[in-house]
């Protein structure tokens, strides 16, 4: 599978990462190597094999729908780069 500059751009966009022109070739080459490692899996037939998502094959435990957390908004917002009136501030989104 060829992982070239245009793939790099597409994937970087999905992952919200910035990859410069200069970096793109190196990144494409490294990732191509990793994909070659991964492609070794294609050598084995897995038809009829159930995928394993969780090593213990368990299901999501459920609990009663009751509020158990305290509201620590003000304390937690001291960690943020920018806040106002209990809201997180980010650069303008809507023109």
């Amino acid at each position: 599978m060829a992982f070239d500059k245009s793939e790099v751009e597409k994937v970087a966009q999905l992952a919200r990462l910035h990859v410069s022109e200069a970096e793109a070739i190196e990144v494409a080459s490294r990732i191509t190597d990793i994909l070659a490692l991964i492609d070794q899996m294609q050598s084995i037939d897995t038809d009829g094999v159930e995928p394993l998502a969780h090593p213990l094959d368990v299901t999501q435990p459920l609990r009663e729908d009751k509020v158990t957390e305290e509201n620590r908004r003000d304390e937690l917002q001291t960690l943020a780069p920018a806040t106002e009136d209990g809201l997180y501030l980010v650069p303008r989104v809507i023109e």
């Binding site: 992982f3 793939e7 790099v8 994937v11 970087a12 999905l14 992952a15 919200r16 990462l17 910035h18 990859v19 990144v27 490294r30 990732i31 190597d33 990793i34 994909l35 070659a36 490692l37 991964i38 492609d39 070794q40 899996m41 294609q42 050598s43 084995i44 897995t46 094999v49 159930e50 995928p51 394993l52 998502a53 969780h54 090593p55 213990l56 368990v58 999501q60 435990p61 609990r63 620590r72 304390e75 937690l76 960690l79 943020a80 780069p81 920018a82 997180y88 980010v90 650069p91 303008r92 989104v93």
Partner: protein
């Protein structure tokens, strides 16, 4: 005192031979003289530690004699510690002061352990050498030109250099066991779900597991008694009570059936590492164990499957780092898109970005079946191999790593680095417990022996490792560090 195991220190504290405050000061002094060279700690919490030590001494005077009361510990900087920076080895969290304690940390606080500081690690736990940390590489106390292993390199170096009595680590593909092997100490990864992941910064949610990094299997058992257990705050945690992991330590190994996988003794394994492992296996035979060769036919696919599953899960887990609510934010973002992209590109190092890209690609439309779903099927086959093996044997033993610690900078190719975990990764994919303990060094450098058990067989594994350590001395060897004379 500082060279003693946690179990020995527990006895010394109980016998009033030393106070927790004296012990803590001794470790803090040793950290000041050696940490600059080794870079094992990202953050040393001296004042906090002394306060906790004094409080432990008071509790002991009042009659509390819990086993780890007053014993100094270091936590890998992946565990949230309330009011203390928790960086995960990354610029992205360099200024993140955790607002709560991880369950693992809370458990050790309740047990009275004294927090010396937070140890260095590969960024977001992605690495096998502790060279990707934003805070600089960690050096192996056995040879400072070499790596201690990773991602829990800081914890491993701290234990090996007696900069703490015990430490915590995490293991997603080998990150407790491999650094334990490279640094000549004991590292234990419990079964998936045995220890709560609440407050443990997530890398790959179906693989990550916390465990002890320490001086002996006995210490690992004491630590497991504090760490293990059901936690309703972690929905992936096993809903099953913890055992007393010290209870079976003294069981005889007579009749123990050991399986050695032919795939772990093949091409790629250094001859001198193989010799140390085979000599160690002979010790087990003296203790009454039988050894047979077994097959793990899909082992060669474990690194491939892992490098789809782990990066895919990491790409999802690391999408929360966006500069909005905590952590790093780039300067003067022009708009939201710019803020996300520059925050993430500046905040994350190259290996992390590489894995996010691979993971995003593997999950993207058109590739999900070929990559992620295929990897999950291969994962099932790898687990099945172990299920078959455990019908005939009690434990599976082999080398932890194909060779001894390499030099810093030696593995610049990411794929070469990934192959470092060739023996350890399958264990995470299958969710099984595994331990690495020291055997005879090769070329003056530590060698680790890897012992794997069936799911939730932690007590059995610790018993096997402890009996080995009772009859051999390799785990007692210490490195000579310039300026580190005790």
């Amino acid at each position: 005192m500082i060279e003693k195991t946690a179990a020995e220190l527990s006895a010394s504290l109980a016998a009033r031979e030393v106070s927790s405050e004296e012990l803590t000061r001794a470790y803090l002094d040793r950290i000041s003289s050696l940490n600059e060279q080794l870079n094992a700690y990202i953050n040393v919490c001296a004042e906090n530690a002394l306060e906790q030590a004094r409080s432990a001494d008071e509790k002991r005077a009042a009659g509390d004699n819990s086993p780890l009361l007053g014993v100094p510990i270091a936590h890998k900087d992946i565990f949230c510690t309330n009011g203390i920076t928790t960086t995960c080895g990354s610029r992205m969290l360099h200024n993140f002061v955790a607002p709560y304690d991880a369950t693992v940390v809370e458990n050790f606080n309740k047990a009275g352990a004294v927090l010396l500081g937070k140890t260095n690690m590969d960024e977001f736990a992605m690495g096998s050498s502790n060279e990707t940390s934003f805070f600089g590489p960690v050096r192996n106390p056995w040879d400072i030109k070499r790596v201690p292993g990773g991602s829990s390199g800081g914890s491993a170096a701290a234990v090996a250099a007696d900069l703490c009595a015990m430490a915590t680590g995490t293991d997603t593909g080998g990150s407790i066991r491999q650094p334990a092997a490279f640094s000549g100490i004991t590292g234990f990864k419990p079964s998936y779900g045995r220890v709560s992941r609440w407050g443990m910064i997530a890398f790959a949610s179906s693989l990550d597991q916390a465990g002890p990094i320490c001086k002996s299997a006995e210490d690992a058992a004491l630590m497991m008694n504090v760490m293990a257990g059901h936690d309703p705050k972690d929905s992936t945690c096993a809903n099953r009570p913890a055992d007393d992991y010290t209870a079976d330590l003294e069981n005889s190994l007579q009749g123990l059936r050991i399986g050695i996988p032919r795939q772990h003794f093949a091409e790629g394994l250094s001859a001198n590492v193989e010799q140390s492992i085979r000599d160690a296996l002979a010790e087990f035979e003296k203790l009454g164990a039988t050894i047979k060769e077994i097959d793990l036919p899909n082992n060669h696919l474990s690194v491939s499957a892992y490098y789809v599953v782990a990066p895919a899960e990491a790409s999802a887990n690391l999408s929360r780092y966006d500069g909005v609510r905590y952590g790093y934010r780039c300067e003067n973002p022009v708009d939201l898109e710019d803020m996300y992209k520059r925050t993430r590109s500046e905040g994350f190092g190259d290996e992390v970005k590489r894995r996010i890209m691979v993971g995003t690609y593997a999950l993207s439309a058109g590739f999900y079946d070929a990559y992620y779903r295929k990897a999950q099927k291969v994962r099932r086959l790898i687990k099945n191999d172990f299920d078959v093996a455990f019908k005939d044997v009690d434990v599976v033993i082999g080398p932890t790593s194909p060779h001894t610690a390499f030099e810093l900078g030696a593995k610049s190719d990411p794929v070469a680095m990934y192959l470092e975990d060739i023996y350890t990764i399958a264990v995470n994919l299958a969710g099984l417990p595994g331990i690495s303990i020291p055997v005879a060094p090769a070329g003056g450098l530590p060698v680790g022996m890897h012992i794997v058990g069936d799911v939730f067989a932690e007590s059995k594994l610790l018993n096997v490792a402890h009996q080995f350590q009772k009859h051999t001395d390799w785990h007692k060897l210490k490195p000579t560090i310039a300026g580190g004379e005790a």
